[in-house]
Symmetry: C2
């Protein structure tokens, strides 16, 4: 990892970590629901979605201060989805990011409520962003659509209803486009919608960022599925080999490890193509390129 990307990653990661420290009102810090939320929010996530949001914003010369509320809201949405996903009635997982999951540490009731609190708070933050910058309303609507039933929640629903069933490739792709892809998509395109609020619509720019984000989302999921069979649980920080056990439809359980690896490579070729085209239009994609390389080759 070059020093430059390491510096840039850290810069964005520090920025989001700082924002996440006080997402709830100080006077409620002892509330058990807030404690459950914060336990998971500060459990050392990689902050991939906010980092992507900041990097695309920087590429487009969008003010990062305008992005902050959306970046914080995005990580809150991601975290609530993990808390609820880990609950006994869903994936029933006890290890996440190397630590006991929220319901193991704080009990099921506060984990459930803590997830709800993060979800609601994310939208308080999005609405705060709109009240500070009314011309970001289109970005806010796009954000909300991608976190909901047409996006992430819809993907979870397909995932849940296809457990133990064989699903076809199209359905598997729809599942992951929504479940993992939607948040990554929103992370890359919220900055675009903020950018066009002050510029002309640019359909080609939209398409290229969309192609980059779609590949990044798909690649992220294929890599996750590969890590489930390839990685060490201790390095990964979560239980491995679960997909097979839970009869999940993943790129590995459906296509096999070798084909999944090829799909990952093909997907990243498309990601780099999109970045090349953005570069040829004059945008500085060097950080996004190095970040993509990092994501493609991650071990956890």
């Amino acid at each position: 990892m070059s020093e430059k990307i390491s510096y840039f990653l850290k810069k964005y990661q520090d920025r989001i970590e700082n924002l996440l420290l006080d997402v709830f009102p100080k006077e409620l810090s002892e509330d058990p629901t807030v404690k459950a939320s914060m336990y998971s929010l500060l459990a050392g996530g990689k902050r991939i979605r906010p980092v992507l949001m900041y990097m695309v914003a920087d590429m487009l010369h969008v003010d990062l201060e305008v992005i902050d509320d959306y970046a914080a809201a995005m990580e809150m949405i991601h975290t609530y989805s993990l808390i609820h996903d880990d609950l006994p009635c869903m994936d029933d997982d006890c290890l996440r990011r190397g630590k006991p999951t929220c319901h193991i540490a704080h009990g099921e009731a506060f984990a459930l409520l803590g997830g709800d609190a993060l979800l609601n708070r994310a939208f308080e933050r999005v609405l705060l962003a709109v009240s500070k910058n009314p011309n970001t309303i289109k970005a806010a609507c796009y954000f909300a659509e991608n976190t909901g039933i047409s996006g992430m929640i819809g993907g979870q629903s397909i995932d849940l209803s296809s457990e133990g069933k064989k699903i076809d490739t199209g359905r598997l792709c729809e599942l992951h486009e929504k479940k993992t892809g939607a948040l990554i998509n929103a992370s890359c395109l919220v900055p675009y919608f903020i950018y066009v609020a002050d510029h002309c619509e640019d359909q080609e720019l939209y398409s290229l960022i969309h192609r980059f984000s779609a590949g990044t989302g798909l690649g992220f999921q294929i890599k996750d599925d590969l890590l489930d069979v390839q990685a060490d649980a201790q390095v990964l920080g979560k239980t491995t080999g679960k997909d097979e056990r839970d009869q999940k439809s993943t790129f590995v359980t459906v296509f096999g490890e070798k084909s999944a690896q090829k799909m990952l490579d093909d997907t990243y070729n498309d990601v780099y193509d999109a970045l090349d085209e953005l570069a040829s239009r004059g945008w500085d994609v060097s950080d996004l390129r190095q970040f993509s390389d990092l994501l493609q080759n991650r071990v956890q």
Copy 2:
């Protein structure tokens, strides 16, 4: 019940029922999460919060079409909170509005996800409202604050952490001001914030509506606690006598039935006082007065 109030109630109830029929995209109507959400959303609720919202809006001559999105979002928030509250890890209830609760009918996983979907969709709707009417952003922020950790979720958290414990009167009031009061408060004040977007700030009007809504929220909870010991489960449509069994701190378990009844009467005296003062300032409160009478004397 006079014919006039019956007509007005039905007018508002029909309006909200119609809105709730298609809160999710039509192409997702077979999605199991959407089905779980809709099962609870259309389970015959009394729609008290949207009705209050419409009535206050009518009193203030605020266009009901501007209110629609907020009214739908409010009922979606209320419904998701019931679905999650009924889950085994929370209240573990199997009967709601005379029907099996969501997780009994659709399984725990889809009930959890169905609640999340409603919560997210409510904010998609609120953001849609803001994009149609940007000057309602203050109302939107107030809405979000009242549904979150500083409002309803905060109340649920206090409720959960005080189970089996003796709590003092102040804490009991804070619990209910947040748990039940916050949504009723937002229902009455969202129209105010939309009203002032086109008028001068009116602190006295705000205070009077706030006094009305605070009394209505408190009265609603005391009445609920009384019905838990007084009502027939079949008429009420949910399990009775639960509060004592679950060692809940309610106005009845803390103060006894007789004192709770007196508190209810005192609270409604204050509600009617607030309405009298609104009337003396020229506002037509006749519907709100009759609706209050209905709420005070309800049997379910």
